[in-house]
């Protein structure tokens, strides 16, 4: 394992140390060493925006802490949901008296821990409402959308929720906006080579050279198909063919596009894929309002990409265009 760390079990804590020190202008510690917050949080009167999840997805989740973005984040072990106590502490760090919107991804552990944390917060009189991202199309059929995972679409959900909260939206409004964000967002991943959890020391799944895994999850959850490795153009076609009909996106829709590398795939190749995606979206009559290309939501050192497309309406557009500042996204 050609990696940089001291002891595998210290990686998350040391990453947090490095992050807080490098970005002390933007983020701050809280009493819980596994909960980080925006320096200015809690903002009195503003709805607090919270997320959290397992580590290994940098810049997600802490990289989205910032102005008009996420107020507090619960940081779990690598690929492991943070315990309820951490979510609860994040709620407290973010609560400015107007309630907290917890915008997180649909994973069993996160669901249970958030549920327990919400109950704990309720006992303290902190109102927490949740949106559970489920943008990953291949992870379940459309009829079982409730079982789909949350992937890179979460970044757009945070951007939207953070903006609505910053504009003074009520808890109900922030939740509704973030829910509409994710309801209008579809994603898919393609895996090119597996990732290795340093504490495990070897990849716990494999992708044979010359093949690619379509629909792979952010922790290496198996996709829907393993097919021979394709050109960028064919990959883009395959990805859009799966996600566009699912919403469905149609002629005239305004869209936000996010291509995210999974950690081991160079930015150059992400732009090449983006080019192919844009050509297809244009051909389908979508107009692209804004694009993001880069490692926005990664999976340790996994090779591959995710493609996320969001359909805009006036409210979502206002939120996406709202100025923001975090290390991961402006």
């Amino acid at each position: 394992m050609q990696r940089i760390f001291n002891r595998p079990e210290d990686m998350v804590n040391e990453m947090i140390e490095g992050f807080v020190r490098a970005h002390s202008n933007l983020v701050a510690r809280t009493a819980n060493p596994r909960v980080l917050k925006y320096r200015q949080a809690p903002v009195k009167g503003k709805v607090g925006v919270v997320t959290g999840g397992g580590s290994g997805h940098k810049p997600a989740f802490i990289g989205y802490i910032g102005r008009n973005m996420v107020d507090a984040v619960a940081v779990g072990e690598i690929f492991t949901s943070p315990p309820a106590q951490m979510f609860y502490d994040a709620f407290r760090a973010a609560d400015g008296g107007s309630g907290v919107a917890c915008l997180y991804g649909n994973y069993a552990g996160d669901n249970m821990n958030v549920k327990m944390a919400v109950e704990m917060a309720a006992e303290d009189g902190i109102e927490v409402k949740t949106v559970v991202a489920n943008d990953d199309v291949p992870s379940a059929p459309k009829e079982r959308r409730d079982r789909r995972r949350g992937v890179a679409g979460e970044v757009l959900m945070w951007k939207v929720g953070g903006a609505r909260a910053a504009m003074g939206g009520s808890l109900g409004e922030v939740i509704a906006e973030a829910q509409r964000a994710i309801d209008n967002t579809r994603s898919i991943g393609i895996g090119l080579h597996p990732c290795t959890i340093p504490e495990v020391g070897h990849a716990n799944f494999s992708i044979e050279a010359g093949t690619m895994e379509v629909g792979i999850g952010h922790h290496g959850e198996p996709g829907i198909e393993v097919v021979p490795l394709e050109t960028a153009g064919a990959m883009a076609r395959r990805m859009t063919d799966i996600i566009l009909p699912d919403l469905p996106f149609g002629r005239g829709d305004e869209a936000v596009v996010l291509v995210s590398g999974l950690g081991g795939t160079p930015l150059m190749e992400q732009y090449i894929l983006y080019f192919e995606v844009e050509k297809i979206l244009e051909e389908k009559g979508l107009s692209i309002h804004r694009s993001y290309v880069g490692n926005y939501f990664s999976s340790l050192d996994m090779g591959g990409v995710t493609l996320t497309v969001m359909r805009l309406d006036a409210g979502l557009k206002e939120c996406i265009d709202h100025e923001a500042d975090s290390t991961g996204l402006r």
């Binding site: 951490m86 821990n113 504490e199 495990v200 198996p222």
Partner: protein, 221 residues
């Protein structure tokens, strides 16, 4: 003997901790086959922290379970933390004010744990999770009690059902947790959570039975 005191039960914690520590690699390996290979790491971490937290010894089984639950729920995360955290917390709550843990008290404890777990997890029997161990084990114990078996026999019935439940997960397709993403491909391997749950129940049964035996030997002499 027909009961152990709550205080005597305290040492069960150390047996549980040792069992988990000894099986760390095994639990990770089976998780690796269809999950992400960290179940042993996660379990070991929680139980090892708990050991430090317990210090010399907890006051009672209830107290020990509460400390374990606290560690799992505040420091472990994942699915495991809330699931086992809830299990041990609800069991602790149930026997908190019980002095002697006899087969009835133990049965109430098991039932309460199982119910709280079911309320949290959504997974049902057949979904290839820890529920496939806890549900039949609790049922077997309850039936043994109804058949008026001895505490020791009830515990043995529970352990046997736990093992059967664990082994039955081999032929199931996972519906919850990471392994569920493999769908049909998840068949053929036992579930890691089922294995750890079985290990816990077996260890509890053995540990109590040993105590019952030595207490009996003590009172005989």
């Amino acid at each position: 003997m027909t009961a152990i005191t709550n205080e005597q039960g305290a040492s069960i914690l150390f047996d549980l901790i040792k069992a988990i520590q000894d099986h760390k690699q095994y639990l990770s390996d089976i998780d690796g086959a269809i999950g992400d290979g960290d179940h042993g790491i996660n379990m070991n971490k929680g139980f090892t922290i708990c050991k430090e937290r317990l210090g010399k010894a907890p006051e009672s089984l209830a107290h020990g379970f509460m400390i374990l639950a606290g560690v799992l729920m505040t420091e472990i995360g994942g699915s495991l933390g809330p699931l086992y955290g809830t299990l041990f917390r609800s069991m602790a709550r149930e026997i908190e004010n019980v002095k002697d843990i006899d087969k009835i008290a133990f049965g109430r404890m098991m039932q309460c744990g199982k119910e709280k777990l079911a309320a949290l997890s959504e997974a049902r029997q057949g979904d290839k999770t820890i529920m496939d161990v806890i549900i039949p084990a609790e049922r077997a114990y309850r039936e043994a009690v109804e058949e008026d078996k001895s505490f020791a026999q009830c515990l043995e019935a529970m352990a046997r059902a736990a093992r059967e439940g664990r082994d039955a997960t081999r032929d199931m397709a996972a519906a919850y947790g990471r392994a569920s993403r493999l769908g049909e491909r998840s068949r053929g391997v036992i579930d890691a959570g089922a294995a750890s749950c079985c290990l816990i129940l077996e260890t509890m049964a053995r540990s109590i039975n040993e105590k019952l035996t030595s207490l009996a030997a003590g009172s005989n002499s």
